[in-house]
């Protein structure tokens, strides 16, 4: 078992890992930038090392600083959290080279999953449904034309090395194809220094469904059910829930079998999430694998009772899955998460600053993951997440009622937050009816 773990992250996820370590009796090392000197992860870790200035490229993303911090504190493992270095295969390699256990998949798997086309091919090979599209990089506009005609419009052009919306272009008909192809290539080149683009069927109003996977080093795979994360703004998830109102037990068990086979085939280890789009007919299409713990992992923890972060650590330490998850996995009740961001609820303009007053909701069925406290400061340098508010109810309806009362009792003074937006969404009849899609928020904005 590990003696000391360094947490290469900040904010609520750093605290989340500290909690898991404390419960496992493992000492912790926090790293922090000069902007985070007064952060709770610094306060509650056993040791804390300043690794650089506020700018993350020179602190949380600076591999030598993080590794040095691990070396001078004799940490024997590093938990990367999400974001920052969590899906950086090079970092995972340096950890190995430095004799430090990286808590996550192998560098090879991280790299493979990072290349969208490789991941897609691997899933397809294992029989996991993927979006109809080009098998790999397009050779040129002609190939795109032929393929689009075959699949049927609309189609989407995507950067092979990309993510986060950059290098993506929707093509509604053949006339638009040529120009969009050129633009997509340019954007891709600019953003990822690779002009490679591929083509996929475009689903107008899809649901976002993802499956949580845990895999040990003996090739045992557990699928902890799905999450629905359809409430998004520009590919940023705002509200997540488990189970999905759109996934039947039958679909869940079918996908579980498929994903067990697929993840074993790619040699996956530790925690990961397989993301899908669901079309109007309820068909699921693979989009990507996130080779790390997800922001929204708590909703799965709430309905399965499995501590995913503890499991990550135990798996990295060599524990078999059988000791970490019950078999069969039971999904009980319903969980919903709202990501409370320091943003204006209408304009989404980030609103960093000092929290002058704070009341966190509590009581039955409520979980809050946050690094905020009265007088804490949300710095402008990092993401704007203030807190994750997660609720559990025996039914989806109870979970919704509980979320509404928790949002009502969640007071943050001094900065704007997205709480009013969350209230608006969760109170919406379409949300109550489970009629979700990634277009939900736009429809809401347009008074839908």
């Amino acid at each position: 078992m590990f003696q000391k773990i360094l947490i290469a992250n900040r904010g609520e996820i750093a605290l989340r890992v500290i909690c898991a370590c404390k419960e496992l009796g493992i000492r912790t090392v926090a790293v922090y930038s000069e902007a985070d000197r007064h952060s709770l992860h610094v306060r509650f870790a056993d040791e804390a090392i300043c690794i650089g200035p506020a700018r993350s490229s020179r602190s949380y993303l600076d591999i030598p600083s993080v590794i040095s911090a691990a070396e001078i504190t004799n940490a024997d493992a590093i938990h990367p959290g999400y974001g920052f270095l969590s899906e950086n295969a090079d970092f995972a390699e340096v950890c190995d080279a430095s004799g430090i256990d990286f808590i996550g998949p192998t560098p090879h798997v991280i790299r493979e999953m990072g290349l969208k086309q490789r991941a897609r091919a691997a899933m397809k090979a294992a029989g996991v449904p993927v979006l109809p599209g080009s098998d790999g990089v397009l050779r040129g506009p002609e190939e795109a034309h032929a393929l689009a005609d075959h699949i049927g419009y609309p189609v989407m052009l995507k950067a092979a090395a990309g993510g986060g919306g950059r290098g993506m272009r929707i093509v509604r008909d053949a006339a638009e194809l040529e120009s969009n192809f050129a633009q997509a290539q340019q954007e891709a080149q600019a953003a990822f220094s690779s002009g490679d683009v591929y083509l996929e069927k475009f689903i107008v109003a899809p649901r976002h469904i993802e499956f949580q996977v845990l895999a040990d080093r003996e090739g045992n795979i557990a699928v902890l059910g799905e999450r629905e994360c359809s409430i998004q703004r520009r590919h940023q998830k705002l509200i997540e829930e488990a189970p999905s109102p759109a996934v039947s037990d039958e679909v869940r068990s079918r996908m579980t079998l498929l994903l067990e086979r697929a993840m074993r085939a790619v040699g996956y280890t530790n925690a990961g999430t397989v993301e899908f789009l669901m079309d109007e007919k309820g068909e699921l299409y693979f989009i990507e694998v996130n080779a790390r713990v997800q922001v929204e992992h708590p909703v799965t923890e709430f309905v399965t009772g499995v501590d995913i972060v503890k499991a990550q650590i135990m798996i990295a330490a060599g524990a078999p899955l059988s000791e970490l998850v019950p078999q069969p996995i039971r999904i009980s009740g319903h969980a919903i998460e709202c990501r409370v961001n320091a943003e204006h609820p209408e304009t989404f303009v980030p609103c960093p600053g000092r929290i002058t007053g704070l009341n966190l909701p509590g009581g039955i069925g409520v979980r809050v993951d946050t690094a905020a406290y009265t007088d804490s400061v949300i710095p402008p340098y990092y993401d704007s997440l203030v807190a994750k508010l997660i609720v559990h109810g025996e039914t989806r309806q109870e979970a919704i009622q509980r979320m509404l009362r928790a949002l009502d009792m969640f007071v943050v003074e001094g900065i704007h937050t997205t709480i009013p937006l969350h209230e608006r969404v969760v109170r919406h009849p379409k949300f109550a009816a489970g009629e979700l899609s990634t277009q939900f928020l736009d429809a809401l904005k347009n008074g839908g």
Binding site: R37, H38, D46, A48, I49, C50, S59, I67, S68, Y373
Partner: protein
């Protein structure tokens, strides 16, 4: 300067019984008047320099929050705390990276500098090893080394004070 810091300052004034305390930090300035006996206002400035293993700057309210005993510095952090007396006229050379501090080119070799030495810009003061790389840290000013703040072979964090130098 936060309200907590100001409250702290007032406490200091109360306890010390200084007649007046004025603290300036860049843009920020605090002046507290009372009526009693003297004590050095520098006391307030000291906490600025952080030890390697910190959590010495806790949240909520720095003055009150109990410091987790588990967070005891693993390096002689206390030593890294410059003595208040001759603050004002000292310049601190800080570590630009995280790593291990060496005050000589090799084990047994004489140290690059000793307390009392005069140093000039570009002169090597120490080495900080980070990921097997030896990084020479050079002086940026001309002056006298008043104090060496880190023991040979000890870990240092980013921004940690290494040398106290009086410009000359």
């Amino acid at each position: 300067m936060t309200l907590d810091e100001i409250k702290e300052l007032i406490e200091v004034v109360q306890q010390s019984g200084v007649a007046e305390l004025e603290v300036q930090r860049g843009e920020n300035r605090v002046r507290i008047r009372r009526s009693a006996a003297p004590a050095p206002p520098e006391i307030v400035i000291a906490p600025a320099a952080a030890p390697v293993v910190t959590a010495a700057a806790p949240p909520m309210s720095p003055s009150v929050l109990p410091v987790n005993s588990a967070t005891a510095p693993t390096t002689p952090a206390a030593a890294a705390q410059p003595e208040p007396e001759n603050e004002a006229d000292l310049t601190f050379v800080k570590s630009p990276i995280v790593g291990t501090y060496y005050d000589a080119a090799s084990p047994g070799a004489p140290p690059f500098v000793k307390a009392g030495d005069h140093v000039s810009p570009g002169q090597v003061l120490c080495i900080i090893e980070s990921m097997k790389l030896m990084n020479e840290i050079e002086s940026e000013l001309s002056g006298i080394v008043v104090r060496k703040l880190v023991e040979n072979g000890k870990p240092v964090e980013y921004g940690q004070a290494l040398f106290a130098i009086r410009p000359a």
